[in-house]
């Protein structure tokens, strides 16, 4: 029961961190090209940050319960004084910055990107990769950063398919595609590096629960990448010529892409709660 709660809290943490920080990054990078769609960004940033705050608190409380439920000095010291507490501190600080500046104009974007950066940095200091070494933690951070930007951008691109038309939508989608190419390349590289670093292939990992869950995650990720490639190669070029119909199809495809990313994140929360690379 506690494990299920821990996995759910982690899923909420991932959802909040990726959407809140991701929307801040995407908003900053796509800027004026978002046009009227920019009005959705503060809501996504604030919702994500709020969810991050709640889930981070919940994760700490559930962890204390899983360690016996006592608020004894050794338990508090282990949870708060270690990497888990450091990560939670970064998440809380980042989420507060995101919440405080979610609606700000002008230079507020720097505070939002900093807040998102703090939230994302928390994945570099705690978890399976961070336990290996700092470099692996940074690789995990790059993986999360890229996923966050991708999800945040998709959450903004989806309403854009309805709100924008013609050249405005075409320019936004092309700007997204240009950045997405580099971001997804880094996402893939970091993912492959993490697998190579964490999984010891000499111990038949694919038969282990970790290996099986990882295989599901990789399969789902491959589907998302396939869909993203389809959007880039087939749908995006049609936006200029076949505006309305192509925009509707793209919106549906983005919805499916977001759903698949949610499935990948769910698999990750299960993977990191119930299993370990070396047990």
């Amino acid at each position: 029961m506690l494990e299920a709660l821990a996995a759910f809290a982690k899923l909420m943490l991932y959802a909040g961190a990726l959407s809140g920080a991701g929307a801040a990054f995407a908003w900053a990078s796509l800027g004026q090209r978002l046009g009227p769609v920019g009005k959705f960004a503060p809501h996504i940033v604030a919702s994500g940050a709020g969810l991050t705050l709640l889930a981070s608190f919940a994760t700490i409380l559930i962890l204390i319960q899983r360690l016996g439920g006592e608020f004894s000095p050794p338990t508090i010291s282990a949870v708060i004084g270690g990497p888990t507490g450091f990560a939670a501190g970064l998440q809380l600080a980042g989420a507060i910055l995101l919440l405080a500046f979610a609606r700000g104009q002008g230079w507020a974007w720097i505070a939002r990107v900093t807040g998102g950066g703090l939230v994302v940095a928390s994945f570099a200091v705690n978890g399976h990769a961070a336990a290996v070494d700092l470099v692996s933690g940074i690789v995990a951070c790059v993986h999360v950063l890229a996923t966050a930007w991708w999800l945040g951008a998709l959450l903004l691109l989806r309403p854009a398919c309805r709100q924008l038309t013609g050249a405005a939508l075409d320019q936004l989608v092309h700007a997204f595609s240009r950045i997405a190419s580099a971001v997804i390349t880094n996402l893939l590289l970091a993912g492959v590096l993490l697998i190579l670093t964490l999984v010891d292939f000499s111990h038949t990992p694919w038969l282990s629960p970790y290996g099986q869950t990882l295989a599901i995650k990789v399969s789902l990720a491959t589907l998302v990448l396939g869909l993203a490639l389809y959007n880039k190669v087939r749908l995006a070029p049609r936006l200029a010529d076949d505006g309305g119909a192509a925009a509707i199809t793209l919106r549906r495809s983005i919805t499916a892409e977001i759903g698949l990313i949610a499935a990948v994140v769910s698999a990750t929360s299960f993977l990191t709660t119930y299993t370990s690379p070396h047990t």
Partner: protein, 134 residues
């Protein structure tokens, strides 16, 4: 293409710097070894982990008595934890421990020590402590 090559270079540089390693703390051994039969309470109980962990509780369950907490040291992250003078009772003692693994997973285990006055100290050849993670 330039961005792709930059990403690839960065990735390969990071790969070269990353060394595969275990990501989960497990118990390497205990003193006394779990399953030991001793003539009297040992002077100390030591739990050694394969990598840094943070011990959060150490409790002994003795026959016919309520569970009793054992003080241990050190307080922070370490690969080795020790409880001085555990004052184990005659009979079967279950020493239950809980810890936070280096990767943030809660882990726990049990060490069994039997105190039998007059017995010749015997330790099993293989560690018997039960150890699981969540």
């Amino acid at each position: 293409m330039k961005r792709f090559l930059t990403s690839l270079s960065l990735g390969l540089a990071l790969a070269a710097m990353s060394a595969p390693a275990l990501a989960h703390s497990t118990v390497k051994g205990t003193v006394p070894v779990s399953g030991s039969i001793l003539p009297g309470s040992p002077p100390e109980i030591v739990i050694n982990f394969n990598q840094e962990a943070r011990l959060t509780s150490l409790v002994v369950a003795e026959p016919g008595k309520p569970e009793r907490k054992l003080d241990f040291m050190p307080g922070g992250a370490s690969t080795s934890f020790m409880a001085h003078d555990p004052k184990l009772s005659i009979g079967r003692n279950e020493i239950k421990w809980k810890a936070l693994s280096k990767d943030g997973h809660p882990i726990e285990g049990t060490i069994i020590i039997v105190i039998k006055p007059g017995a010749t100290p015997t330790t099993p050849p293989v560690q018997h402590e039960e150890h699981k993670d969540h």
